[in-house]
């Protein structure tokens, strides 16, 4: 097998996946497994934005909307259905359908970056307000009470569809890891397909792609929906490891997704996942120590990266590696 960059990356990711699935959980405490599940659910969210922003060029400031919708769809489904596996499916379907409806207006209106960002952000904020105002018994879907500001604690957890038993936290961690790596390889497959290549071409130059005969609108719309579906999976796992609450739609919640992607590196898939996990660790420890507000840290990180490291860490690291390799070759040549 020829050693190309992408085959190295895929192999490395697969190895990390196996490590995360089989070695890591046997060697850490129970508490770490639970918080790792939360981190991994959010890493899937980072992956979804990395896909549509980094490769589709779709500036979505509202990825949290799909995350939240996925979480709420799962919670409502889990209260109402007999088997939670259907709720998990619902958590993918609802955000995708919502993204299709919203995307129709945005992409078929041919709105550009600034408009796209503002509309998706506004949709998220309005969803926050809507969900926040659903306190009381009047707001219930079937057996599920939406609970307003308090969210929906006590939602039934995912069950093993074969024997109907509730998954243990360890098993849930396994499900989360499998979802993350499946989504990653799915993204890779989409990008390698003809469809993915056309989407990247449209990102590079929409006019040129259209002159070559590709209608940009349906491609962007479909790509946007894939991102929303992945964000829905993320929300579903988050709903299982924490619980759903309106803060999932919060402005701070949607901002941090962007920060993960920018810090990790736009136009990479691995970078944002690493950025997400690293930043979550930092903000968690900051929040625990309490000497600085996590918002200050996140805001400062965002400003510094936009001003000084606009491409993010992973491309920077890559460049450094390439330069070191080139330098080594040069040393050897004469």
């Amino acid at each position: 097998m020829r050693l190309t960059r992408s085959s190295v990356e895929l192999t490395a990711v697969a190895l990390i996946g196996l490590f995360a699935l089989f070695v890591f959980p046997r060697n850490v405490e129970f508490y770490t497994i639970i918080s790792s599940t939360i981190y991994i659910s959010l890493a899937i969210l980072a992956l979804s934005l990395a896909l549509i922003w980094g490769y589709g060029g779709i500036l979505c400031f509202g990825q949290a909307a799909f995350f939240g919708l996925g979480g709420y769809a799962y919670a409502v489904g889990a209260w109402n259905f007999d088997a939670t596996i259907y709720a998990a499916l619902l958590a993918v379907v609802i955000p995708t359908v919502f993204a299709a409806a919203l995307g129709y207006f945005m992409f078929y209106g041919r709105l550009n970056d600034v408009y796209l960002g503002v509309i998706t952000l506004t949709v998220t904020l309005i969803l926050f307000k809507l969900v926040n105002s659903t306190g009381g018994d009047a707001y219930a879907i079937g057996k599920a009470r939406l609970g307003g500001f308090n969210g929906m604690p006590g939602t039934p957890f995912l069950e093993n569809p074969l024997n109907g038993k509730v998954l243990s936290p360890e098993a849930l961690y396994g499900v989360a890891v499998v979802c993350l790596f499946t989504c990653y390889f799915l993204c890779k497959a989409v990008l390698a397909s003809r469809f993915g290549r056309i989407v990247v071409a449209i990102r590079e130059n929409e006019t040129r792609a259209e002159l070559l005969g590709y209608d940009a609108r349906p491609y962007k719309l479909a790509f946007f929906c894939i991102g929303a579906g992945i964000a829905g999976i993320s929300g579903m796992i988050f709903a299982n490891s924490v619980f759903v609450a309106p803060t999932m739609f919060d402005m701070a919640s949607t901002a941090r997704i962007l920060i993960w992607v920018i810090v990790g590196g736009l136009a990479t898939l691995v970078g944002p996942v690493i950025g997400c996990i690293a930043l979550l660790m930092i903000t968690t420890s900051l929040g625990r120590s309490g000497w600085i507000d996590p918002n200050v840290a996140l805001g400062a990180i965002l400003i510094v990266f936009v001003l000084l490291v606009p491409r993010g860490l992973l491309p920077l690291l890559n460049d450094g590696l390439n330069r070191a390799l080139a330098w080594l070759k040069q040393e050897r040549a004469p």
């Binding site: 209106g109 960002g117 509309i119 506004t122 200050v296 400003i303 606009p310």
Partner: protein, 288 residues
């Protein structure tokens, strides 16, 4: 009959408070084509300035109309110098950086002022229309907004400063080749936008109370209204806040404020589907 009058006054108030909240954002969007995501935090800073100035003994009208805009203008000027200036021409990066600022300012305000609501009571009392009471202060906001809009129109239409601003807006390269420094114009624009946002925050402080996260309540509506208005600052602002503000208020009367906001957003999304460059992208194209 009285109900109709009250309803009309209410619509007038919501439209003008929407226009007031959007004004600072619209100025920056019209000139620089970016959305200032720290807009809500400028509003919050205006609110805090008013509360502190009033508590320090300055008459409330002075602290609203003079002190708050001035302080927030200074903050805006410094921010432009430190951050925004380095990102001209990179629209997405500018928006992301202002978002960073937004988080930073919320965090800093939480650390400095705490998370409790600081408030001042609204001055002027109320008057009655038939059996309904209407707050004088709300009508005061309507008046201030009207004066502000007329003032902006006169400034943009009849002064040399306005001519420079309009020229840069239409074609910044041409303006630059005629000896106008765009960076100076942008600096003034950002400062003016910040001052207007500070004024909005000051005027809203008695009605809503001031917390570090108060901006959140306004930004969703403000963002969508400004981009629905399009690139002409004043016409876009007035037409979009008139249209969307009325939709929002009428829905609020029929249902709840939250549904009113959702209706406003829905109307804006439909509007942008058919007028992707906003109202002034299609109509009133030669306006300011």
């Amino acid at each position: 009959m009285d109900y109709v009058i009250v309803l009309i006054l209410q619509i007038l108030f919501s439209v003008s408070s929407l226009a007031l909240v959007c004004a600072g954002l619209a100025v920056i969007f019209g000139m620089m084509r970016v959305i200032n995501l720290a807009h809500g935090e400028f509003i919050m800073l205006g609110g805090f300035t008013t509360v502190f100035a009033t508590q320090a003994g300055i008459p409330i009208v002075v602290s609203m109309l003079v002190v708050a805009p001035a302080i927030v203008a200074v903050i805006g000027f410094v921010i432009e110098r430190l951050v925004v200036r380095h990102l001209y021409g990179r629209m997405i990066d500018t928006m992301l950086a202002t978002w960073g600022l937004s988080l930073l300012l919320i965090g800093a305000a939480t650390m400095l002022f705490g998370n409790s609501v600081a408030g001042i009571s609204a001055p002027f009392g109320s008057f009655t229309v038939g059996q309904y009471r209407v707050s004088v202060y709300e009508m005061f906001i309507v008046a201030v907004t009207l004066v502000l809009l007329i003032g902006c129109y006169l400034l943009l239409r009849f002064t040399r400063l306005g001519l420079i601003a309009r020229g840069t807006m239409q074609n910044s390269e041409m303006a630059a080749s005629l000896g106008i420094s765009p960076s100076k114009v942008y600096s003034v624009t950002f400062t003016a936008g910040a001052a207007l946002s500070g004024l909005a925050g000051a005027l809203l402080a008695p009605l809503s109370g001031v917390v570090p996260t108060m901006g959140k309540a306004y930004v969703a509506k403000a963002f969508i209204t400004v981009i629905s208005g399009g690139e002409a600052i004043l016409t876009g602002l007035v037409s979009a806040s008139g249209l969307l503000g009325s939709v929002g208020t009428l829905t609020t009367f029929a249902t709840t404020p939250v549904v009113g906001d959702a209706a406003l957003l829905f109307a804006a999304i439909i509007l942008l589907r058919f007028l992707p460059n906003g109202i002034t992208g299609r109509f009133f194209r030669r306006s300011i």
